[in-house]
């Protein structure tokens, strides 16, 4: 194995030599133009006035309200996702019914659908002339609804493969020893699914915190009421207040990165523990 590996790198050095320096240079330039420079500029802008200026921008009441709304809505949405995402994954793996294949394929629709269309679509059923008589437009419920829509696939898609691999023998053994279905679920199924659910939840959270397109039309962007963090940033850019926009951007970015970093740490811990 080790020898093969070394030979592999030897071969690679050969492949690499050809156009590789030029190739690496181009990759580096592309990444710099697209990601490195912009992120550096964002961090620089948010810290030009020092910590005081940063804090002043972030503690602006409208900004605080927007950040709070985004974080609270994201936490609620993610909790709902954890439950319904797991239930949906369960049904897609363990249940059989006509049209299951189509339902399974449609789960990814929120990923494929442009976010602005997601907003229009939700307004068509839950807007002012809703055929169901439910009008959530311009309310905080609309923020939650839009976030639920765009983050739907995360938990489903991370739980599904684990559920497919889950050995039924354990559940059967527990059941035959007299465990109730609820006990089997609590003691055997959920502990196995937990890492996948947590992964899905973390990804949903990161997505929800930054979501913009689906919120624009349905929430009405009312300051202190339905204005989410990303929408606040957009408004500040329109007002040419780039310092405020950059400061709030950094807060949202840190929230998303913190959750993703915790996830990585948790998964690494867990895999070490299991091994």
């Amino acid at each position: 194995m080790a020898a093969g590996r070394r030979a592999g790198f030897g071969g690679l050095r050969l492949t690499a030599r050809g156009g590789s320096l030029l190739g690496k240079g181009l990759l580096g330039i592309y990444l710099t133009v697209l990601v490195l420079l912009p992120i550096a500029a964002l961090l620089a802008k948010s810290s030009t006035g020092g910590l005081d200026a940063f804090w002043r921008e972030v503690s602006n009441p409208e900004a605080v309200a927007a950040i709070k709304l985004t974080l609270i809505a994201s936490v609620i949405v993610v909790a709902i996702n954890a439950v319904f995402g797991t239930v949906i994954a369960w049904v897609l793996v363990r249940d059989e019914f006509p049209g299951k294949g189509i339902v399974n394929a449609l789960i990814d629709l929120p990923f494929a659908l442009p976010t602005i269309v997601a907003g229009v679509v939700l307004l068509a059923l839950y807007g002012k002339d809703s055929p169901l008589g439910i009008d959530v437009a311009f309310t905080r419920a609309a923020v939650g609804l839009a976030l639920l829509f765009v983050t739907l696939p995360f938990v489903v898609r991370s739980v599904q493969p684990v559920l497919l691999e889950l050995d039924l023998a354990m559940e059967e053994a527990a059941a035959s020893l007299g465990a109730s279905p609820l006990t089997v679920l609590r003691r055997i199924v959920l502990p196995t699914l937990a890492p996948a659910i947590i992964s899905g939840v973390a990804l949903s959270f990161a997505r929800a915190v930054g979501e913009f397109g689906s919120l624009v039309l349905i929430t009405g962007n009312l300051p202190f009421k339905t204005e989410a963090g990303s929408v606040y940033i957009f408004g500040q850019i329109q007002n040419e207040n780039l310092a405020a926009a950059a400061a709030v951007s950094v807060v949202l970015l840190l929230a998303a990165l913190l959750v993703l970093a915790l996830l990585t740490l948790f998964l690494r811990r867990r895999s070490q523990h299991v091994l």
Partner: protein, 304 residues
């Protein structure tokens, strides 16, 4: 490798065989228990499908109904207005530039991350994934801070006579950033699976690195790349937030199809908004279809 699999039964039959056996094993205890299990199963199914119907299927079906409520001619009229067709073609133009760029970059970066060994590789991986963790609005803002009038490169770009922000180059940049990770992330696992044996053999037999790449590596990873391209295209076509900021949203100039949807909606032209939304929704459904077909192709290939 192939001989050892014979005793363990071929993969396709295995899951269903196992499932049916467990079902019959679960039945014996008592008829009442089985009935309760069946009730539970139906209950859980109703919850899952009900949730999906309310959140996903209902709203999407509703938009198709709303669009074609008054027949097809208003839809055709709305779809053929100059600003609608301009927005459509501009979206395609941006996709036609950003997607190939990201594809080439994605393959190269996947090779580097998967085959290379260098300091800071983990950090590079995080950097590649960053666009998924960043709000599209923040992407737009960051680009303005570099390429905008008051941005880092603003003066220099003005001297060269290049306008990036509020014109197509900026929109291409924004689109490329938000769809950057897809090809990299879809290509890396297939590259790992492919291994280096065949490449080494080709090299030993005297193939140049370029020949090896074109004849061995690329055919081996093509379905992974194609899957990544499908995801990139869907994301690029639908990008709203980042493009909204860098475009200036000028009708018939820098208005893409998603921006057109917003513009029509806010101007109370619901037919126009719904029509464009349905076009984008159909493209999204086409994306799902392509994803499904590709998954089926690769599954058949790995099972064969």
């Amino acid at each position: 490798m192939s001989s050892s699999g014979e005793g363990a039964l071929p993969i396709p039959g295995a899951p269903s065989a196992r499932r049916s056996s467990t079902r019959s094993a679960a039945r014996p205890p008592a008829a009442a228990g089985a009935r309760a299990a069946r009730r539970r199963q139906l209950g859980v199914r109703a919850i899952a499908l009900g949730y999906l119907a309310l959140l996903l299927l209902g709203p999407v079906a509703m938009i198709f109904y709303r669009t074609f409520e008054h027949g097809i001619s208003p839809v055709l009229n709305a779809a053929t207005t100059p600003s609608a067709t301009h927005a459509f073609w501009l979206s395609l133009e941006i996709v036609a530039i950003a997607v190939p760029l990201n594809t080439i970059f994605g393959i190269g970066m996947a090779l580097l991350l998967e085959r290379g060994r260098f300091w800071g590789k983990a950090a590079l991986g995080v950097l590649i994934d960053l666009p998924f963790a960043i709000s599209p609005v923040v992407v737009g803002l960051s680009l303005v801070l570099v390429y905008g009038k008051t941005g880092w490169l603003g003066d220099w770009l003005a001297e060269q006579g290049i306008q990036v922000i509020f014109s197509v180059p900026g929109m291409v940049l924004a689109t490329a950033v938000v769809s950057l990770p897809f090809v990299v992330r879809e290509t890396m696992p297939v590259l790992r699976e492919l291994g280096v044996d065949a490449e080494q053999a080709a090299e030993t037999l005297g193939a140049s690195p370029w020949q090896t790449f074109l004849r061995i590596t690329l055919p081996g990873i093509r379905w992974g790349v194609v899957y990544g391209v499908v995801l990139t295209t869907a994301r690029a076509l639908g990008e709203f937030g980042a493009v909204s900021i860098v475009s200036g949203r000028i009708e018939e100039q820098t208005q893409t199809l998603p921006l057109f949807v917003q513009d029509r909606f806010e101007n109370f032209d619901s037919t126009g908004a719904y029509t464009a939304a349905v076009v984008l929704a159909l493209l999204a459904l086409g994306t799902l279809l392509a994803m499904n077909l590709l998954t089926r192709i690769t599954r058949r290939r790995t099972e064969a």
